[in-house]
Symmetry: C2
Subunit: 327 residues, 2 copies
Amino acid sequence: MNIYDIAKRSGVSIATVSRVLNGSEKVSPKTREKVLKVMQEEGYTPNIFARGLGLNSIKMIGILCTDVSDIFYAKAVSLVEGLLRQNGFDALLCCTGNELENKKKSLDLLLKKRVDAVILIGSAFKENTDNSHIENAAKQVPVIIINGLVELPNTYCVLCDEQSAVSQNVQLLHKQGYDDILYLYDVLTYSGCIKISGYKDGLKKCNLPFQETLMVKVPKSIDGVTAKVTELLGEGLKFSAVMASEDLLAIGALKALQKFNLTMPVIGFNNSILAQCSSPALTTVDNMLDTLCPTAVQLLVDILENKTVPQKIVISSKLIERDTFPI
Amino acid sequence: MNIYDIAKRSGVSIATVSRVLNGSEKVSPKTREKVLKVMQEEGYTPNIFARGLGLNSIKMIGILCTDVSDIFYAKAVSLVEGLLRQNGFDALLCCTGNELENKKKSLDLLLKKRVDAVILIGSAFKENTDNSHIENAAKQVPVIIINGLVELPNTYCVLCDEQSAVSQNVQLLHKQGYDDILYLYDVLTYSGCIKISGYKDGLKKCNLPFQETLMVKVPKSIDGVTAKVTELLGEGLKFSAVMASEDLLAIGALKALQKFNLTMPVIGFNNSILAQCSSPALTTVDNMLDTLCPTAVQLLVDILENKTVPQKIVISSKLIERDTFPI
């Protein structure tokens, strides 16, 4: 919804809408009311004060994340918010949940607030089927995606090479004689899928067969994972190491192993504070949020200053060695 | 800074400022420029569009928290943001860090954005010496504090009775024969202090002496706490149970105990996901964020609708029993 749409829907000229926006007294009260009503209905709120000051920007960036209570997203939001503020931008935060409908609604809402750009945190914003909402948003403002990949015009991605990370871990385990690797995941976001292809790639590079039974979907809760892995062990599933798509899942598995007095390599993902909390402490992949976030904010600043920037920046991950898999 | 101040500083009448704000063409370009310059210098950005629509509110709430990467604050921000949105409000998030100067600056910034109200998350916003910034903010908009207590006009607090929680835990431990209770804390925020008085109150109720050596300040990191408690155990400090002001610290202590093969009750605070990650899982106090946040948002909605509301709502905590202290 832009000024042209408002004019069309109000049945007046663009000049009239502009006059209303500028508070001109040349517009009749009746017309004024009609135009304002359409704007209100459409949620159209241009920051005319900023325009009055001759500024092109309201210095506000929309941040979308599915769930800021998730420890990984929380860290990203915290880093991004601080960095934006250092650069003179405010952060308007929207938590969307995983429903596509809500993601669309939240994105719409940010755009109606006339933010200068949108930062999407996490790969949960790349849908497998329909990314038209991101495409539409990018027609209005630059869209930056942290740790997700959507290749569209005016969309910029800063991400960690999670596929290689997982593949390398499989190879590392193989080198030490661990070939039957249980892989746990919870959701098939872009990141979730890319890690699975890393797992398969690693097996392939080691000439190991992919075993359907060793790739297991689990709920995103410690107790849920513990219950699931306990069940698998009870059923006699054989594996010699565990990898998980995030720390929480790895810790749930670790607790199940402890119940059976089993010791084997366990590798998490994200290098969250959770990895330090478990006993033994969890070996995990650092997906470099501390680098991704400053890189993304710098990219954004450069874009808004009309500098030429890359559309995609990929950073390598790092394996953090702790007690569950001493290398 | 309001319209009167702008008029005064610009050397024009209030009517002139008002005309500038309304985009009237009766103001000379020179005067207009002068007034806009003062407004820009002062960061005065009234939401004139909202006013133009006859709305008194821009439907935006400022959220201040010291650090959204903290797991407890992250959960609170997540809950509050979702609830605000359900009520038709946007959330403008500011993370301040612990420096008073930054807290003041962030609060100022939110007020200049003309938010409808401010929600302060966590007791870190109550200073021991100077709360004038909160007092000033509350002169402009309602201030809601979640889990902190500042008694000032137009300031509303929703908090958990953490003092009783800690006191009751001391009494519970005493009943089971644990009298030398190591108490670990990291910061002396309002919440930090209130928990310490709970510890002292509990000892008093059990006729136990307060021992200076058993109240220990530790860094807010797992490794830091583990090192400190290891050091204390190495020095021969005797204690038969551990309580901590938050889960992270309790887990750090637990790891030190494990190094010495010691088993004793350990009680955390916050009932965060960390408590579930530790092995054995941590018994901890739930300070009822799931109740505090909806209560706070409802309070805010009621305030903005000019309903009569209490200035202080106190909710009881709940002890969540897990493996480190089966009751």
